[in-house]
Every structure is written in C-alpha cells, then in structure tokens.
Amino acid sequence: MTSGIAAQGPYFLAASPLPAEGIAQHAWLLIALPAFGAAVLLLGGRRTNAWGHLLGCATVLAAFGYGLALFLSAGAFGEAARVRELSLFSWIPVNALQVDFGLRLDPLSLVFVLLVTGVGALIHIYSIGYMAHDPNRRKFFAYLNLFVAAMLLLVLGNSFVSLYFGWEGVGLASYLLIAFWHHRPAAATAAKKAFLMNRVGDVGLALAIFIMFAQLGTTQYTEVFARAGEFSSAQLVALTLLILLGAAGKSGQFPLQAWLPDAMEGPTPVSALIHAATMVTAGVYLIARANPIYNLTADGRLAVMAIGAITLLLGAIIGCAYDDFKKVLAYSTVSQIGYMILAVGLGPFGYALGIMHLLTHGFFKAGLFLGAGSVMHGMNDEGNIRRLGGLWRYMPITFATWGLAYLALIGFPGLSGFFSKDAIIEAAFGQAGWRGWVFGGAALLGAGITAFYMTRLMLMVFFGKERWRELRTEDGREYHPHESPLVMTVPMILLALGSVGAGFFFAQGHRLTGYLAPSLGGLQEAHGPLPALAITGLTITLVALGALVAWLVVGRRPVPVERPERVSLPVRAARADLYANAVNETLVARTGTWLARALVFLDNRGVDGLVNGIAALLGGSSSRLRRLQTGFVRSYALSMLGGSVLVIAALMVVRFA
C-alpha cells in the first residue's frame, strides 16, 4: 500500500461515470466502421478486388475523423467529467447476473483511439502502395480492418470481458497477418509460434478475469475498481501476476518475447501497425487500465518493474547482434515496450509516462518500420543489412524520415523519445532504496545500448560502402534502389513529423499526464537521490557514447558482407536471442513434451479408458434401450400407462409415506 491510492481519490471513488451524450452516443461507430469494412471485404469476395483497399482505408479514416471529433468534444469537459460511459446493450439481463456491454470513453481510451486509427489510417494508405502487386491485397485490407476493429474494441470496452474479446480479436488478426504469406514456411511457423505464445498469456488474463468475477460477480471496470478493496491480498497478488502474464504474452515481454521478432515474417505494414505501434502495446494498456488494482499491491508492481527492466535490457542486447533489418527493429520494440512496462510498474509515478512513451514510440517505431519497408521495397525485399549500405543517396525521403525517427528513438534532445524516455528513467531513479538504483540504472544502460544498435543499423543501411553493387539477389537480379511512390512516402513524412514534435507537445506543461489524470490518477513526481538535470545529462552522455561506439565498430571500418562466425561469447549469446529459444525449448517445450507424453499415457490408459468406458456404456445402453422403441402402439401405450402408474404411485408415496 502506498500513498498512491490517495491520488486516485476523486475519480475512482466518484459515483458511476456520466452517460455519454452528444456525438459520443454514436461511439460504437468507431468499432462498427472498420468491422463493416472487414465484413464487406471478406464476404464480398473477388467482386471487391477493384475498390476493396480504398474501402479499407476509408473506414479507418472515417473512424479516425470521428475519433478526433470525439476527442475534441471531450476536451471541452472538465477533468472529472471526462470519463463517460456509453451503455450499448445488456447481454444477459438475468436478475442476479447482469452482463452489460458498453463503451468507456475516457482520456486513456480516447488517446488509444487516436493512436490506433491515426497510425492505422497512415499504414492503410501506405499499404496501398506496398501491397500493390499482391494478388491477395483485398484480403490483406480485410484483415487490417478486422485488426483495427478488434483493437478499438479492446481499448473502448468498459469491462474486462469486452477487453478480452478485443484481445482475442487482435490475436486472431495478428495470426492471420503474420501468416499472410503462408506459402512461406517461415511465415506459417512464425504465425503458429505467435499464436501459441499468445495463448500462454491469454490463459493468464482469462484466469485473472475469472478471479474478478468469482470475487465480485462483475468485470465492469467501474465496479471492479470501486470494489477493488474487496480482494484479499493473496488475490491481489495473483491478479496482478496473471494480468502481467497476459500483458507479457501480448506485448512480447520476458519470458514470452520470442514470438515478436519471428512475427516480422509478415508484410512490413503489419509489423509497423500491429507488431510495433499498436497491438503489442495492449499489455501496457492493460496494466495502465488496471491501475486501481496495481495501486493496491506493491509486490505486484515490483514484478511488473522487474519484467520491464529485464526485457528492456534483453531486447536491447539482442538487437545489437542481428543483421536483419526488421528483426533489429523488432527487438528494439521489445526493448522499448520494456520501458513502458517498467514505467507502468512504477505505479502512480509512471502510468502516464508509460502511456506517453507508448504514444511517441507509436510514431517513431511505425516510421522506422515503414522506412524499413520502403528500403526493402526498393531493394528487392532485401532485409539483410550487411548487403545494404550507402542508400541515403538513392532514397532521400526515406533516409530523412527514417533518420528523424531514429534520432527520436535514441533520445536525441528535443525529439519525441527524449521527452518520454528520459521521464521514465528519471521516475525509475525516483524509486525508494535499492529499487531506484537498480531500475533506474537498467533504464539508463538500456538507453546507451539502444543508441548503439540503432546507430549501427543507421550506418549499415544508409551510410558506408554500397555493398549491394557487387551482389545479386537469390534469383540473380541486380539491385536498383529507388525511392518509393508518394502513397508510401507521405505516411512516412507524417509519422516523422510526429516523431519530432509529439514528445514536446505531450510533455509541454504536463499536457498529456494532466489530460490522462481522470483515467490514471494524477502523476506523482518522483524525487530520487539524483537531481533530474544530472540524470538527463547522464542519459545524453550514455546515448552519445553508444552512438560513438557504433561508429567505431561499423562506421569506420568496412562491414563484411558475410556474418563473421568467430565472435566473442556475448555476441554469440545475443545472436542466439540470449538463448531465449533454447530456454523455451528446455523449460517449456521439452517439459511440455514430457508432460504431454505422460498425459498421453495416462490418457490412453486412464482417461480414454474412462471416456471409452462411458461411451461404451452409453452406447450399449442406448442400443439396448432402443429395442424398447418397438414401433407397436400397444407397447407405447403400455409404457405410458406404466409411467402414469409410477408417477401417481410416487406422488402418493411422497404424500403419505
């Protein structure tokens, strides 16, 4: 228990949220529009091939426009009135049990609506160009629309159950999109891996929801949060850990991070939208949303912080060793989400900071991925950075936008990442005792490593020798790098603008944190052992150092086209994903296999025997009883008479015995 609860006061102890009025009454349109697009594209079949992608873009753009209008109209309300609920229908209105479905329009969900529809719309537009030659482009847009609809349901729902529906929906969309090129074995495998590892997390979330329901009889946010005090402390810890497990599965956090880099087998816009900007941040959203529960248990928050810190270092270290453009970005995503998880683990000191980093990250990471896509688009889908180099001359727009996003990510002063990441590092240092040093130190170190691997990427792709000149693609074609069409570059430019300005805009006068207060409670200032300015200075120094080292390693020396095999132990470990797959293999897969074998044995001998026994019993009695159905009216009448005699006899016995 910390003083954090006090800060929640006015919002959560307040009575139920106000009903939605005005244009907010039609907030269901947000979900309905992309869902409609997906339905039309999937059901319409080939007939919609010609204009399907336009419809896909239009629905998301319309949703964005509507979301923006909602956002602006909500801005007019006072702070306490910003949480609104729109009751759509009650699903099962049986007296004791009321399962209502509704939307919760509050700062947190509105911010996500804007992120999902805004970035989503840009990436939809980008995909028109990127998928122009794909025969299944219509299906691609249908899945993208499906994803947007599910993600909006996830963030807009007013109960944990509707969140879970959206949660599974985005999981499905993600699965479909990773396996979009399912003729590639790698893509099919990656999709399966993502699906399975997500299930592990989903089980956690589902169990958490069961606990809530068992204890409180409801999963409605307002109810659960208002009555969170009714949980026993053991239940609280279980809840927080299970929710964390769910978040880790969806957000690629330790120990469930291994699926995310593999998911890059999907088309690049998918990587940008789902596996960088939006879906993978659902875990952060979940923990931030459940903040009244996390406020009640310091142990739960500690677990969150620990997972966040471990993941941010892990992701950053592995990111240094990869040569695949998108995989480096993927590990960077893992690492950055680690920052966000760390931030929301800080409790009232960090919820809003986590969301802020999530938003800025949404801009620059989407920009980085789209840039990567643009590079690959112009380079015959070549993703190995050892075979690229010196591209800035050929793709000026891509280079410029990518460069800005890069600077934002490493935390270049004045750009987005600087404001959001720096704030997290500061807040982490502000934790009391050893925690401040450990988590703050991890975050600081992570910033340095981030600068290293991102600079390495930058140098190897856009600078240095044009290594692709002497190389051919696998099927023998030459490389002819060229800038991408307008439909692709415009979204990149817009995202670059966001990468530059969003951080300052949000941080200016605590604009975002103040805005989010009705959802997350007021942000508390952390006061650590080090002055804020010192931390900022340290961060900038470390970032500069990381970039410098990168330049020393890959900028000054020629880069070998083939990956050197004789490398030091740490590099080898990093290349092996820090043995995450091996750990999974030993801990999960192998034990799983043993367990499965044991179960199969038990199943064959015991359960199957039982089941077969029951089945045989039922089947046997069924065939025996069947003979009673002789087809003779006389025997039917006799059975009725017998039944009547029994009924009357039984009534008599009950009455007079």
Partner: protein
C-alpha cells in the same frame, strides 16, 4: 364451473352475457376465422386454384393476427381475464402468442413450399396408392401445366391447430385447456398422415399419434375430473386456493395432478411419455414435423408452466420431486437414445425429448425467473428446431429426403453453405455460446439453481454434454467424411423455405448475441392473470 352454476344457467333467470375483450382475443378469432374461410375455399374453389388461395389466406390470417396482437400489445397494461374467466390475458400468454404466431408463419412458409418437392410435400389423395395411375392423374394440373396435386386442407388444419395452441397457452381453467388440447391435436393427427413420399410410414405415424393422443387426452380428462372433485372448480386459481386451504382429500389432488401431468407431458413429448415422438417425427411430412416440433412444444410447455405456477405452486413440496424424476428421465432418454439413431429426423426427435427435459427443469423453478427462463428457452428452441427441419427437407435423393445419417457424410463438400448453417443450428441445440441455445440453457439452469435445484442442474449439465455428442457426430460426419458417390444432393430452396430457414437462423443468432431483446420481454413483472 360447478353444479350450482350450471343450475343457475338452466333453471334461473336470464344470464349475463360474458364480457369479451375483443381486442385481446382478436388474434385467436382471426386465426380461427381464417381457418373457417379456408374450409370454404376447399369447398368452392376449383382444385388448381386452391393452393394459391390457401397460401394467401393462411399467410394473411397469421399476418393479420400478428398485427392485431401487436396493436393489443401496445395497449396492454395489467394481466386480466376475459370471456368469463375462461381465458387469461397476461404477459406469459402474450409472449407465447407472439412466439406461436411467428413460428407458425415460418412453418406455413415451409408447408407452402413446392419447389423442393415438386407439387409440395403433401399427398393429393392419401388413399390412392403411390405411383398408380390415379396418383399420377391427381398430380397433373388441368391443361398439363405441371404438378398441382396437393392436399391444400393442410392450411386450414394448420390454422385450426394454431388457434388451439393459442387458446391452450392462455386457458385459465382446465376445461378450456382440454378443449384447446383437442382443437390443437386433432388437426395435427391428420397433418401427420399426409406425406407424399413414404405414405405408409406417414399414415402409420398418424394412426399411432392419434391412438396415443386419445389415450393421453383420456388421462388429462380423468385428472381434470378428479381435480374438480378436489377443488369443486376447474379454474386454476380456485384449485390454487383449495390447495392452500388443505382441508380436502389429498388423494384426489395428487391422483388428479398425476393424471393431468401425464396428459400434458405427452403433448410436450417428455419422457417416459415420449414413445410416439420418434415415430411421428420421422413419419410426418417434414414441414409438419417442423410445425409440430416448434409450435406444439411451445403450446404444451406454455400450459405446463401455467398449470404448475398458477394452480399447484402451494403444493409443490409434494410433487416437485416426482417431476424431477420425470425431467431426469426425459433428459436421459433423449440424450442416451439419441446416440445410436441412424435417421436424422429420429435423432432430432430424441433431441426434442432431451430438450423437453431441460424445459421441464425450467418449468419446475416455480419463480418468476424460472418462468421467464422457460419462455425464453421456448422461443429460442422453437426457431432453431424449425430451421433444422427446414434444412433436413433440403437434403434429398431420388427417393425424397435423404434422412439416413450415412447419406449426410461429406455434405460440407457438396454444399458448404448448408453444412455450415446446419452446424450452426446443431451447435445451438447443443447449447454452445453465441447461439440462442446457450443463453436458453444458461437462464434456465440459473433459475433452477436459484430455486434450489442444484442437483437437478448438475444432471442436466451432464445430459447436455452427452447430447452434445450426437450433434457433434453429425458435424464431424458432414465435414470430415468423404461423400458417398451416390449421395444426396442439396436442393436449392425456393423463396418460402429460404425465408423460413433464414428467419430461424437469424433468430438463433440474434438471441445468442443479443438476448436482451427477448429477455427484456420476459423480464420482471411476468405475472399471471389473477
């Protein structure tokens, strides 16, 4: 009505004409009026024009009845009785009327379809041997313009049965209930014997149904007489008053109740009074089976709920245990015997026996929740089962409907849409979430648990698991078996059948996704007429 009131009628001064709330009973009057007009159409119109007239008349009658019903519903406020207390006009009755009207409309559409089976599913002249010269002659319209021969009496019969069902669910005394029972049963007996294909099977089914139905009616009448002896009145509320007084012969009460229950359970095809169900479901023409399975179940359980909740609530302590046993028997018979059926219509018949058991669980919860849950279940089950039989009528080979399960193997490869729709409906029957069947079971079992019947609900859950097996067996058969080379084809249905099936599927889906529409209807304030 007892002896002394009879005396008043015959021996004393002028009687007051009973007040009739015409607005309330208009739907019933319209349905019966339509039926009578249908008889006249049969009498005066030439044979080849009758089908058109009858279809228009039947649809018009049911539609107008629905309209009158809707108009009355808007003005309905308090539960009341009309026609000298013979008929109760209360929310349960109105809900069931609405359900029956909607189901009957869909059933009439199925009955009227002539695209699936050329000339319709009904025989032109039941006494003529199939395939004979006379039979052939009857099937040719004058001028040789195609098949026309069909017993169009089926339409007025349907309307008579529907009217009887509506009275049955609203009957406020046992005598009215008995008359309504006969009015709804007699047309059904006839309708069962009119199949064009497999005539002997159909006629055998009709005779069986008639004999056993008469037998059951006798039970009902016997019970009625004894209860009259017990309470001195046949009015449900008077019986309720008598049971609370508790100064009369309990023998009369319980023997009477037992016999009455047998009569009712027979109509609702609750085991062990179910024996007719598989034979009749199988033998009857499929559209008639659809009508019977949906509407008769609704009517019978409407009456069961009313009898239990109005007349015997106070004495429930003594009889509820016995009814538990009946419910268990019904669920077990339906679920277990369904496992080894090889004919799809028989399988669905056993499914309906199992469902009758589940419905009885709801009807035994003598609370407002139990009542509303049972009514909701009836609505959900009616539409699902109607659509199920609609689909069954589509899968055919040269001999008519291909009802043997082996013929359904690999259906998904021949006609994926049919297979998917049928799968959805079977899942609804099994009670899988996002279908109306799940919500129905959910609310029924919740109500039962709340009324202290947890052990019964546990058994019901087990039985629904067993029953789910045979539904899934069909799904597996359709999707994962190779189609037989000479397997059946799926007929493309005409407008009528398409509309009926679509309606059933949509309602099944709607009530699964958004059950609040109906649950609001049957929600709190579901009081019976005083």
């Amino acid at each position: 009505m007892n002896v002394s009131t009879l005396t008043t009628v015959f021996a004393q001064g002028p009687v007051e004409a009973p007040a009739i709330d015409f607005a309330a009973v208009a739907p019933i009057l319209i349905v019966f009026g339509g039926a009578c007009l249908g008889v006249l159409v049969e009498a005066f119109f030439p044979r080849h024009t009758r089908w058109t007239w009858q279809v228009v008349l039947a649809l018009l009658s049911i539609g107008t009845a629905g309209l009158a019903f809707g108009l009355y519903l808007r003005e309905f406020t308090n539960p009341t009785t009309t026609l000298a207390d013979r008929l109760a006009v209360d929310r349960p009755a109105l809900f069931l009327w609405g359900t029956l009207i909607a189901l009957a409309l869909a059933a009439v559409l199925l009955i009227a379809d002539r695209t699936i089976e050329p000339g319709g599913s009904f025989v032109a002249q039941a006494a003529v041997r199939a395939g004979s010269v006379q039979d052939h002659a009857l099937n040719i319209a004058p001028g040789g313009t195609g098949p026309a021969g069909m017993r169009t009496e089926i339409f007025p019969l349907t309307l008579f049965a529907l009217g009887g069902m509506m009275v049955f669910t609203a009957a406020n005394d046992l005598l009215t209930m008995f008359i309504a029972l006969e009015v709804l049963s007699l047309p059904l007996y006839l309708m069962c014997g009119l199949a064009r294909r497999r005539r002997l099977l159909s006629q055998e089914a009709a005779v069986k149904y008639f004999l056993l139905g008469a037998f059951a009616s006798a039970f009902f009448l016997y019970g009625l007489a004894l209860l009259y002896g017990y309470a001195g009145s046949v009015k449900l509320t008077d019986i309720a008053t008598a049971t609370t007084a508790g100064d009369r012969s309990d023998t009369l009460l319980f023997v009477g109740l037992g016999l009455l229950v047998v009569g009712l359970m027979f109509k609702a095809s609750v085991g062990p009074f179910h024996a007719w169900t598989p034979d009749v479901y199988q033998g009857a023409p499929t559209p008639v089976t659809a009508f019977m399975a949906a509407c008769t179940k609704v009517a019978a359980f409407g009456a069961i709920v009313r009898v239990f909740h109005v007349a015997f609530q106070a004495s429930s302590w003594e009889w509820r245990g016995v009814l538990w046993a009946i419910a268990i028997a019904s669920m077990a018979i339906g679920a277990v015997l369904g496992l080894t059926q090889t004919d799809i219509k028989r399988m669905i018949a056993y499914s309906s026996i199992a469902h009758a058991g589940f419905l009885l669980v709801g009807a035994l919860a003598l609370t407002e929740e139990g009542r509303s849950a049972t009514l909701f279940y009836l609505l959900a089950y009616g539409f699902t089962t109607l659509a199920v039989f609609g689909i069954i009528s589509l899968v055919r080979d040269a001999d008519g409907e291909a009802t043997h399960l082996s013929q359904w193997a690999g259906l998904a490869k021949r006609s994926p849409v049919t297979a998917w729709v049928f799968t959805f409906l079977l899942l609804a029957l099994a009670g899988i979430p996002l279908t109306s069947g799940f919500i129905g079971k959910f609310v029924v079992f919740t109500a039962a648990v709340q009324d202290g019947m947890a052990p019964l609900v546990v058994i019901a859950l087990l039985m629904s698991a067993v029953a789910a097996f045979f539904y899934l067996r069909v799904v597996v058969l359709m999707f994962f078996s190779d189609p037989a080379p000479d397997g059946p084809t799926v007929t493309v249905p005409g407008v009528f059948t398409t509309v009926a099936i679509t309606l059933g599927v949509l309602v099944t889906l709607l009530l699964g996704v958004y059950p609040a529409v109906a649950l609001d209807w049957v929600g709190p304030g579901l009081a019976f007429a005083p």
